[in-house]
């Protein structure tokens, strides 16, 4: 279980202290899929980065299975079982998909075994395994590879920062299945997804709403989701992507 206790995060904004996260406390229990949603600029991605250790909180503590990991490095958090999928997948020169999956598993995996992770995210493995993780891949392809690396890492807690960002609606519809499958095999681990997408919210056990850096709602999907419908926090993806064509 991951626990955030009164976590705040401030940045320096032209000499002024700006609060991005304000005293957030929450729990991510085992065997649960939690979705954090809320308006843009509300601090969701920052919260995900605080959990992965990419940012350090100004105040508050972060506990993993009761152990204080607030001052633990990114590397050591990864080793303790936190996985993180970037909103904007990182591109490399020369590093191939196979290399990245091998680094994620920490083993010299066979190409065939690595291909299984690609298949799990809906990529035809043989077309991608030798490809460089660079700009020759589309946004959707990079996103799937990013998710495959997090799958390959097999974390206790996997954090996905806006998996829908930067990919077209049709690619995202296929990606939903990937998360649905993860949901089925969640036993012994937990998943945290930052998302605006109704279909992602629909597979959540619990939903957390973050607005202006503050936690404004937290509860079971059936309680929280109805309060969000029709608000800016959660619109069906097609409504957002295709104004006037909401019924899809």
């Amino acid at each position: 279980m991951l626990e955030l206790i009164n976590v705040s995060f401030n940045v320096d904004d032209e000499g002024q202290d700006k609060e991005i996260i304000r005293g957030v406390s929450l729990k991510i229990p085992d065997d649960k899929l939690i979705v954090i949603t809320g308006p843009n600029g509300g601090g969701k991605s920052t919260l995900a980065r605080l959990i992965a250790g990419i940012e350090k909180p100004t105040e508050g503590r972060i506990l993993l299975d009761g152990e204080d990991i607030t001052d633990v490095s990114i590397t050591d958090r990864a080793k303790k079982g936190i996985g993180f999928a970037f909103q904007q997948p990182v591109k490399f020169k020369g590093i191939q998909v196979l290399d990245l999956i091998r680094l994620a598993t920490g083993k010299r995996l066979s190409a065939a075994a690595a291909c299984e992770y690609l298949a799990a995210v809906g990529l035809c493995a043989k077309d991608y395994i030798d490809r460089e993780v660079n700009a020759s891949l589309s946004g959707g392809e990079l996103k799937r590879i990013e998710i495959a690396t997090v799958l390959a890492k097999a974390s206790r807690l996997s954090v996905f920062d806006e998996p829908e960002a930067g990919i077209d609606l049709w690619s995202f519809n296929n990606l939903i299945q990937v998360f649905e499958n993860m949901r089925k095999n969640i036993s012994g681990s937990s998943i945290l997804i930052i998302s605006h997408q109704e279909r992602i919210l629909n597979i959540a056990d619990e939903i957390i709403v973050l607005k202006d850096g503050e936690l404004t709602a937290q509860g079971a999907k059936d309680e929280v989701l109805p309060t969000l419908m029709g608000t800016a926090s959660a619109l069906p993806g097609c409504v957002k992507s295709m104004p006037g064509k909401g019924d899809c």
Binding site: A78, K93, L103, T149
Partner: protein, 308 residues
Amino acid sequence: MIQLDEIQKRLLMEVADLHKVPEGAYNIRSNSQAVGRNSTANIEIVSKENVSGIDIRIKPGTKHESVHIPVVMSQSGLKEVVYNDFFIGEDCDVVIVAGCGIDNCGNQDSEHDGIHRFFVGKGSKVKYVEKHYGSGTGSGKRILNPGTEVYMDEDSTMEMEMVQIKGVDDTERTTIAELKAGAKLVVRERLMTHGDQRAISTYDVRLNGEGSSADVVSRSVARDNSYQKFDAKLLGNAPCSGHTECDSIIMDKGRILAVPGLEANDVDAALVHEAAIGKIAGDQIIKLMTLGLTEQEAEEQIINGFLK
């Protein structure tokens, strides 16, 4: 019969991936002596008479054959200039593997200056691989100054892969190429310098014939206090296309100078130069750290990939 000690064998493996005597034509030079040579029906290797070096003559129409001409030096204080000329007949398709490994455990400088000239016949296709490697704990420098001249006849293709990853203290590489109509030159240079090393690479590529093309790409990493200069000049003297690229990572106190040089002397010459120098992107390191690598391991993986 070739007699090589363990150091020489290790150098041979580093520069030419050779674990044993290669198949096909070869000339192995060790501590300024030819220690093994083999000519084949189509590829003849003979010593030059007036200067140190060899002539390699490849008969027209020779296909899918290879020539290995590695050089290893394990004796401190050796200094040599070697002239090797390759005469490649028309309509060939061959692989040439060169390379030099120096192990210097003494306090005197060791230097090998290999001057290679290639005369590539009409329609021929050549792949040239050259690796440089240095090792040894002595205070004597390991110096390599390769000079390469490539003369390409009509519709010939030359692909050059030049690699220097480790241990060479000082290098000045000069590559000159002249291309006739339809000739195509592709250069891939990979370089890493560390310590106080210095590496200078100069290209002068003349696109003289209609439809000729050149693509010269250097990927390099400068670590510690090392210095690199990449000076690539393309001359478009006919309707042609040319591209040079310097893509570099600097670390520590490394320094890199990229000098673009494009000269178009024909209105239909299309020439492009690209250069990018910078440190490793922070998000690349963070991504690999989220997979459980330390910062140092992440840097190594990024550099290994970059120079692959």
